[in-house]
């Protein structure tokens, strides 16, 4: 198995990680409030657009087309970026990407970088790699700042600090800001304006000092070599324009062929993510220019399991994702389990299908993620690029329980089933055996009916998972098929009373 790394190794399986969150009433309250608020707003923002279904289909098609010809568009992008004065670097995995970025920062002689929120750099744990090289990385997105100051981990794609409430944030600011730079003002309250001002003052100092900026990108336009970031705060724009050197680390799937294609996503992304008609800041940057902006621009194109994912005909649709997080906000499982339970920077339904593809299904957490869903389908319904998440979940479940052929590190390998499914597999086979023999099913039903007074109220073994929190229905005295046969479908009047 290749060592593609998407953060947080050795994490426990989803069910046990989720258990803690389910019983944390503050966390559940925070998540419930936040997801329900954004869910309702999103539905309203989407309903305003008369051609939403067409936009969704267009987004899906653009992404599918680009993924099908990814090799072509990546070469085109490299040509465009180079022609615009930028430098393109190719990183096969997290280690290579971290090595490239660390080297680039070292070349500048700087020991500090400012960062605009980037899933890709979280995925490869760039901050930790820079720290190991003696370089401090400062997160400047407000929510990322909260997470970094709180020595915490992000728990949401769009709102990394969604699990924190205002009071908790005030305490983190008051306690930690001084260790990182400008301290929080005296008498800081938990009002949104007070917290935003504290962050603004703290971050301004960093923006004005920084010589190196690190970003991700929401999109890369192949025809012009342009990168695009959409954001709400403007902090990202400060990172993109003020430093002398800009390093952008971007997953290879973020590409779109032309500027025209952005038309679709710049409508669907903000409405799906923040429920806004348009996000407050859309920044685009193309190479370098003489009079303004960074003097040097480096684009690090990150694979880290994406090409392997692309090789899977069903699973590859996960690469359409534009990281809007609508699927998280509508997911009843995410709402209860919280983002940390997913053991990855990609939580929620999209994380449940992306992480086990990027990292493989060998670890306990990755083998459990495809089951972190009730298959209710709400995620598919809201996805602006129509990723059929339930379909991919079932596809990955099969990989977990039965193994099969996958591509890892560019090579076809045959996976063995994950551990711990032997009893379940035997039960499924036995059930299939019985269900293809109506007589066997009937015998089982009759046995259950005749022994019904002996059935325990709580079940042993795997059944305990049910009877610990829910009562079981009583087994009826007679299964339907016996009633049907006895009464000839209820036509025998005497029998209907039975």
């Amino acid at each position: 198995m290749s060592g593609t790394f998407v953060g947080m190794p050795g994490f426990p399986a989803f069910p046990s990680a989720a258990r803690e969150a389910v019983h944390d009433t503050t966390l559940r309250g925070n998540l419930r409030h936040a997801t329900h608020t954004i869910r309702a707003k999103r539905a309203k923002a989407v309903a305003e657009v008369s051609d939403w279904a067409e936009l969704r289909e267009a987004g899906k098609r653009i992404k599918d087309h680009t993924l099908r010809h990814l090799d072509h568009y990546l070469v085109r992008l490299e040509e465009s970026v180079t022609a615009a004065g930028g430098t393109v670097h190719w990183a096969a995995d997290a280690d290579e990407a971290n090595r490239i970025v660390t080297g680039l920062v070292r070349e500048t002689g700087e020991s500090e970088v400012v960062k605009v929120k980037s899933m890709a750099t979280q995925e490869i744990e760039l901050n930790e790699a820079l720290e190991a090289a003696g370089i401090h990385a400062y997160e400047t997105d407000l929510a990322e700042l909260i997470v970094q100051l709180g020595r915490d981990r992000p728990s949401h794609i769009l709102v990394p600090a969604i699990h924190r409430n205002r009071g908790e944030i005030r305490d983190i600011f008051a306690r930690e800001m001084g260790d990182w730079g400008r301290p929080a003002p005296e008498g800081l309250t938990d009002t949104p304006a007070g917290l935003a001002e504290a962050a603004r003052l703290h971050l301004r100092e960093k923006f004005l000092r920084a010589k190196v900026g690190v970003s991700g990108a929401n999109f890369m336009v192949a025809e012009t070599g342009t990168l695009v970031v959409v954001e709400s705060e403007g902090n990202g724009r400060m990172c993109l324009t003020l430093p002398e050197t800009l390093i952008s680390v971007v997953g290879i799937e973020k590409i779109v062929p032309t500027w025209r294609d952005l038309e679709v996503f710049l409508q669907t992304l903000p409405r799906s993510s923040t429920a806004e008609r348009m996000n407050p800041y859309t920044s685009t940057w193309t190479g370098t220019t003489d009079a303004d902006g960074p003097r040097a621009f480096h684009l690090v194109l990150l694979d880290n399991g994406r090409t392997d994912t692309l090789a899977d005909e069903v699973g590859r649709q996960a690469l359409r994702c534009i990281r809007c997080s609508a699927c998280l906000n509508v997911c009843p499982v995410y709402e209860r389990a919280g983002g940390h339970a997913y053991g990855s920077v990609y939580p929620g339904p999209i994380g449940a299908i992306l992480s086990p593809q990027l990292r493989g299904t060998a670890s306990e957490i990755d083998a459990s993620l495809p089951y972190a869903s009730s298959l209710c389908g709400a995620c598919y319904e809201v996805c602006p690029v129509a990723i059929d998440i339930p379909e991919v979940l079932v596809h990955l479940r099969e990989r977990v329980v039965e193994g099969g052929e996958v591509t890892r590190g560019g090579n076809k390998v045959v996976l063995r089933p994950a551990k711990g499914h032997a009893a379940e597999r035997a039960a499924m086979r036995a059930a299939r055996w019985a269900f293809t023999r109506p007589g066997a099913l009937r015998t089982g039903q009759r046995l259950a009916s005749r022994t019904r007074r002996l059935h325990p109220r709580t079940l042993p073994g795997p059944g305990r998972a049910w009877s610990g929190t829910r009562d079981l229905p009583p087994v009826p005295a007679e299964p339907f098929r016996d009633w049907w046969q006895r009464t000839r479908g209820g036509n025998d009047v005497k029998g209907t009373a039975g």
């Binding site: 009843p332 298959l375 059930a431 269900f435 109506p438 099913l441 259950a448 610990g468």
Partner: protein, 251 residues
Amino acid sequence: MRVALFLTCVNDTLYPDTGRAVVKLLTRLGVEVDFPMAQTCCGQAHYNTGYRHEAEPLAEHFADVFRDYEAIVTPSGSCGAMVRELYPRMGERARAQGRGDALAATLAPVVPKTYELTEFLVDVLGVTDVGAYYPHTVTYHPTCHGLRSLGLGERPRRLLQAVRGLELVELPGAEECCGFGGTFALKNPDVSAAMGADKVRNAESTGAEVLCAADNSCLMHIGGTMTRLRTGMRPVHLAEILASTKEEPAV
């Protein structure tokens, strides 16, 4: 019209009253109902847990049993969605894996003529008032597969609204999953139970006596949570409400 009742293995074994209700209801509406005794299980639990090749013989068995009927009616949105949405995918998958068209050809005939009960009543029979009487306050939970896979829409509510004596009250957060999800309930018991408890609390807040749904599996989870939380509410399958009359009221 003669139809086959596809009752589902869960209803057959644990909820025979739902089957009797469907027979009573359809008979009252002039439909001749047959129950093919060879029917077993549609294979959904196998398919959705990842044992898709174990589900194939079950789907083939289903197709063999039901092939010759004019229509197949099931009181389960979930099992109905299995046949209508996932059987075609099973066929496509076999084809993509180089196993030819045999599976697709076997399954294809039953797919378009399988109806969830409310679809059959509203779309095929063209009725919304089925002559039922049920003097209770009821809240309706649209189960996920009925809601999103089959797109049942307003059909169940329209049927309920036409029931005499019944007061229908809206369920807050109705479209949220109850947390059953088949083997999900066993694999992620804490999250599943938390979802179930929230569903039950929402139902309780309506003041209804009865929570109605068109899937007994979801009702098993919701009902088991109701008794554990001692709410006093009852889970009742939609078919049992629609079958209820003044002369023969549902329990």
